[in-house]
């Protein structure tokens, strides 16, 4: 630790950091623009100037840029010095010369870092009376607005979009006062992380487009701490609500998970809660709407029968637990497909095995060699792909350390690193969106990848792998290179997941276990679950109770019916099997938030709450249980699943969580994710509204001029009001961050122990799983030798960030980025079939038709199939697809009903374009 003096006050600070970061860590107010806690310093904006003095006798001092000045022991500084203040005011006056006076109509107003810094710097009168520079804006697609006139050229957008997130279609253009940040031409920003620009931009150049279509100021939004339901990562979000509708999602800082950034599925996918896809009232088999009381009575009557329950990886822990209690553990079945369920067993085993460590995203960023087997992380757990992009920079930091360049010197570190990257080895079929930073790509069919992974395991075991005849030298070389990279690494990481399949997960486990043995300490292993509560659901299941066994029971034993919670069975099993099962019973109760094909067969449909209308606990891929708080009052017609089920203790989320933790061993610590009693002041709640929330007496005046009583929330430590203890003192329930003088999201530094550190209070979370076993290796992989038909293509299902998740696929902004189900194969195959992108392709003998996307990198003999979403566009049930099929081109025009494939972003896409000459 070093000691520095700032304006006469002594502080203990970390000498590895720069002055700006340490000043902010100490809670001091020092303006800045171009610096970002996650992206280091470039010294571009000159806004954070402070006075530094040589020693105590030095009364003159020199101006230094705090972000570019390392902390030195004994440094004497002044933020309040008159010259420093005048300099900062001058800088901002310069930045503001062309900035429009449009704050009242700007979406950023009220949470604008530029507004905050302008006031903080004391520039409050415009002397510049000349013409301002104006720019043309671009249409950047469905997620973001573009208003270049507001730009102050801090460069944070391109530093995030290009340098941090690896985007390729945004750049800084022109120079001096014409500098322009945009695309080559108008069009959708391709990066899966583009939405972060709305938060990274210190002013209103990039703003959230769906939000601005139905806008409210930050101070008017009701906010609560929530957990994203987009995938198994469990990013922390801060949803904002007004007039009973969800308006937007912004990032909520979590030091170990998402940090400062979300993916676009998480940010824009939550709009499904406002959509017409939501179930809003109970219905009986004839489609008649039932009142809440009628529905409860009908449900109570049905539960007299012998029912089995099918849980769900997208329902909360409490919902699954309540169903398990209602039907009994023997009658509670998995909501996973049988193959996913098998994969989940491997995942659960890996979480209990002492040879492994399941890294948080923050730990992923420090892995110095990564092997991904079969999982397309960008499309299945997008936020992790952003962390993997940072992991390849470990080598850059090592180079910088050797040259004694501090890590926060962003430009210098990138300069010294050039193209140097830590190993990122990707075994995948076809191109992935991480290929541009991969140091090694093994592109082959699933079976070939598994064989290569098995060979790698054998190699790590000290033997030389026995390759099958016909294996290419490229594969052998890839195995050798990966082997060398993993052995040389200090912190290797192996990644696979449920979408890659159970064999890939077993091989990943074997490889990680072998590495752990070699290293004589645990090895990082990530096995990605598919959905936001996959792990929580799996922990509640008796191992034998697979979905297949549930179908058998419905068929053979003749139970009276079933209850399905928040699950579409057509996403879990072949259509024919699901149909047969649903037909064989009279009673089928479906409780869900959204309309699904399964709900259409139900004898009773009950509408459940989304994450907005009720609290829930979700368990992420690490086994981290997180509490997501209720955001807005629950409409009368909706109830959380557990309240429909009406089991003992289901009156509140809290009581059910406590019951769960006393009754079930894996959840014994679950109640620790509830707000800590010491953080709760009796009689005072944490307000969901800001103290500046407006319109309380006017909001409902169109219906009633009397001010109604605020809705009470007896079940939460939060209230639906602006009264109570402002979250300044307790970040545990930090719905949205705000601090005096800091209206923007940059106020988060006031809630961190130090910049980039943990929140001052703990998060509402608990790690559920204790590592207490040493499991054996899984049996070695051997290819199932089927008769390979030369004319058939092996079909492999793929995922897409926009569309593969059931809930977000029902969000309007996400739908505008979705595509129809498609089939992809390479140029050679396309030539053979005489087909081009956009044509219809038939899987022979199945009647399935898919739109073709020619993708250059798909291996010969393989066709990738994206099944689409039942929400909109054309889709197929992936379980209906054969393992291999003969393909033929259909001579017909494209369907008018579908979404097409034009909005699909894949890196190896090949479109046949007709040159202008051809049209003439």
């Amino acid at each position: 630790m070093a000691k520095i003096t700032v304006d006469g006050q002594c502080y203990e600070v970390d000498p590895a950091n720069n002055l700006l970061q340490e000043c902010l860590s100490q809670g001091l107010d020092l303006p800045y623009f171009c610096w970002h806690p996650c992206m280091g310093s470039v010294g571009a904006c000159r806004q954070c100037a402070v006075k530094q003095y040589r020693d105590e006798d030095d009364k003159t001092g020199t101006l230094v840029m705090a972000c570019m000045t390392p902390v030195t022991d004994g440094a004497i500084l002044s933020i309040e010095d008159d010259q420093a203040k005048a300099f900062r005011a001058g800088v901002i006056e310069g930045l503001m010369t062309s900035h429009p006076h449009d704050c009242p109509v700007c979406e950023e107003g009220g949470e604008c870092h530029l507004q905050d810094m302008t006031l903080m710097s004391g520039h409050n009168y415009r002397r510049f009376d000349k013409r301002k520079v104006t720019h043309r804006n671009q249409d950047l697609g469905p997620f973001l607005n573009h208003e270049m006139n507001r730009c102050i050229t801090c460069y944070r957008c391109v530093r995030f979009y290009n340098d941090y997130a690896g985007g390729k279609d945004l750049s800084a253009q022109a120079s001096h006062h014409h500098t322009y940040f945009g695309r080559f031409e108008a069009g959708t920003l391709e990066s899966e992380f583009s939405g972060n620009l709305a938060e990274v931009c210190p002013t209103g150049v990039f703003t959230d487009k769906p939000f601005s279509e139905h806008y409210a100021r930050k101070w008017d939004l009701e906010a609560a701490p929530a957990v994203c339901t987009g995938c198994a990562i469990g990013c922390n979000t801060s949803p904002g609500e007004r007039y009973g509708s969800l308006r937007r999602i912004v990032n909520r800082y979590h030091s170990d998970i998402n940090g400062y950034f979300l993916c676009d599925r998480g940010r824009f996918g939550a709009h499904y809660v406002n959509s017409d896809f939501r179930l809003r009232s109970a219905k009986d088999s004839s489609g008649m709407t039932l009142s809440s009381e009628e529905a409860s009575i009908a449900f109570a009557r049905d539960t007299q029968k012998r029912l089995i329950g099918i849980g769900s990886p997208r329902a909360s822990v409490e919902a699954n637990f309540a169903l398990r209690r209602l039907v009994g553990e023997d009658n509670f079945y998995a909501g996973f497909s049988d193959s996913d369920y098998e994969a989940m067993q491997v995942l659960l085993n890996s979480l209990q095995d002492q040879d492994f460590n399941c890294p948080s995203l923050k730990q992923v960023e420090s892995a110095d060699a990564v092997l991904i087997i079969g999982e397309d992380v960008t499309n299945t757990a997008p936020r992790m792909a952003l962390s993997l992009r940072q992991s390849v920079r470990v080598a850059a930091y090592e180079l910088a350390d050797k040259a004694r360049i501090p890590q926060w010197q962003d430009a210098a570190v990138r300069e010294i690193a050039q193209e140097t990257r830590s190993p990122l080895c990707i075994f995948a079929t076809g191109a992935t969106r991480l290929d541009d930073v991969a140091t090694l790509r093994l592109n082959a069919s699933r079976e070939d990848l598994l064989e290569a992974a098995e060979a790698l395991f054998v190699r790590l075991s000290g033997d030389s792998p026995h390759y099958r005849e016909g294996v290419t030298g490229r594969t052998m070389q890839a195995v050798e290179e990966t082997y060398a990279a993993l052995l040389a690494a200090k912190k290797p990481l192996i990644i696979s997941g449920v979408h890659a399949g159970v064999e890939a997960m077993r091989l990943a486990s074997n490889i990680a276990k072998r590495l752990a043995k070699i290293r004589e300490s645990s090895c990082d292993l990530v096995l990605l679950a598919a959905e936001h509560n996959s792990v929580g659901h799996a922990l509640l299941l008796e191992e034998k109770n697979s979905l297949g066994s549930a179908f058998n029971r419905l068929k053979d034993e003749g139970c009276d019916g079933l209850i399905v919670i928040e699950n579409d069975l057509y996403n879990r099993a072949p259509t024919s099997i699901v149909q047969a099962a649903l037909k064989s019973v009279d009673t089928c109760i479906v409780i869900d938030q959204i309309e699904t094909p399964t709900a259409r067969h139900a004898s009773l449909v009950l509408p459940s709450t989304s994450f907005v209308e009720s609290a829930n606990v979700l368990v992420n891929y690490e086994g981290r249980a997180q509490l997501s708080f209720q955001l807005s009052p629950c409409p009368e017609s909706l109830k959380p699943v557990e309240r429909w089920l009406n089991v003992e203790g289901s009156e509140s989320t809290e009581s059910l969580i406590r019951r769960c933790s006393t009754e079930l061993a894996p959840f014994s610590e679950l109640d620790k994710c509830l707000p800590h009693p010491s953080s709760v002041v009796p009689g005072a709640k944490f307000p969901r509204m800001s103290h500046r929330a407006s319109g309380r007496t006017a909001m409902n005046a169109d219906r009633n001029v009397h001010e109604g009583k605020q809705t009470l929330d007896d079940n939460s430590v939060m209230s639906f009001s602006m009264e109570g203890i402002q979250p300044l003192r307790d970040a545990t329930v930090l719905g949205s961050s705000w601090a005096p003088q800091w209206n923007s999201n940059q106020s988060i530094s006031k809630f961190q122990n130090e910049v980039n550190g943990a929140l001052k209070q703990r998060n509402s979370e608990i790690h559920l799983i204790t590592r207490n076993s040493h499991l054996d290796y899984y049996p070695s992989y051997s290819r199932t030798e089927g008769q390979s038909d030369e004319h058939k293509y092996l079909l492999q299902a793929v995922q897409q960030i926009f569309g593969s998740d059931e809930l977000s696929a029902r969000s309007k902004p996400v739908q505008s980025r979705m595509s129809d189900c498609y089939i992809a194969f390479n140029v050679e195959s396309a030539k053979q079939l005489g087909a081009t992108t956009g044509d219809s392709i038939e899987l022979q003998d199945t009647g399935v038709e898919l739109t073709l996307v020619v993708r250059a990198d798909v291996p010969d003999g393989v066709a990738l199939v994206y099944p689409g979403s039942s929400a909109t566009g054309l889709s197929v049930n992936r379980f209906d697809l054969p393992k291999a099929a003969q393909l033929s081109r259909l001579d017909k025009a494209n369907s008018e009903y579908g979404l097409g494939v034009s909005s699909l972003v894949v890196d190896d896409r090949v479109d046949v374009e007709v040159t202008t000459g051809a049209i003439l």
Binding site: K168, D169, L170, S171, A172, Q173, A174, S175, Y180, R183, F184, E185, G187, T188, E190, E419, V827, A856, S902, S903, L904, V905, V906, D907, D908, R909, V910, D911, V912, E913, V914, T915, T916, G917, A918, L920
Partner: protein
Amino acid sequence: MSENKLMKNSVITTSLSRELTAAEISEIEHEISLYPDKRAVGLEALKIVQRHQGWVSDESMRAISNYLDIPVADLEGVATFFNLIYRRPVGKKVILFCDSVSCWVMGCDRIKQKITDQLGIDYGETTSDGEYTLIPVPCLGDCDKAPVMMIGEEMHRHLDEEGIESLFRNAAVNKSGGDS
């Protein structure tokens, strides 16, 4: 000449690419041989294409981007940073007219007015016959011979109104004479 062409694209885009000419490619290849990384050649490639085409169209931008494997947005950053890479069509000859301090002191305003009167173009405009484009430039480094301008590659010094008159009269004569 109708021919379907395969193009690798990350999203469907509205503007198309063209093929670089053999001459352009050979010059670009030479530049590539001088650097460890072909992406360093972006600016040189823009200059080469401009020399051959007169300006750099969107189609040319895509062609260079594909050839050098530089994202077209990044290449646009380079192209627009430099004022003398023309992203719009220009005349056969570009008049770079200095309006900086020394030339201003020596009365360049009158000279510029003379050019505008004679050719009928202001800054940023091209004559209707596509011959000349007039662009201001901050300094041509010949201040002791101010006012100065460049026409194409050729430097013109100690400008006065009579000189301008004869210069562009000659140019017109040259044009009609050189048409054969």
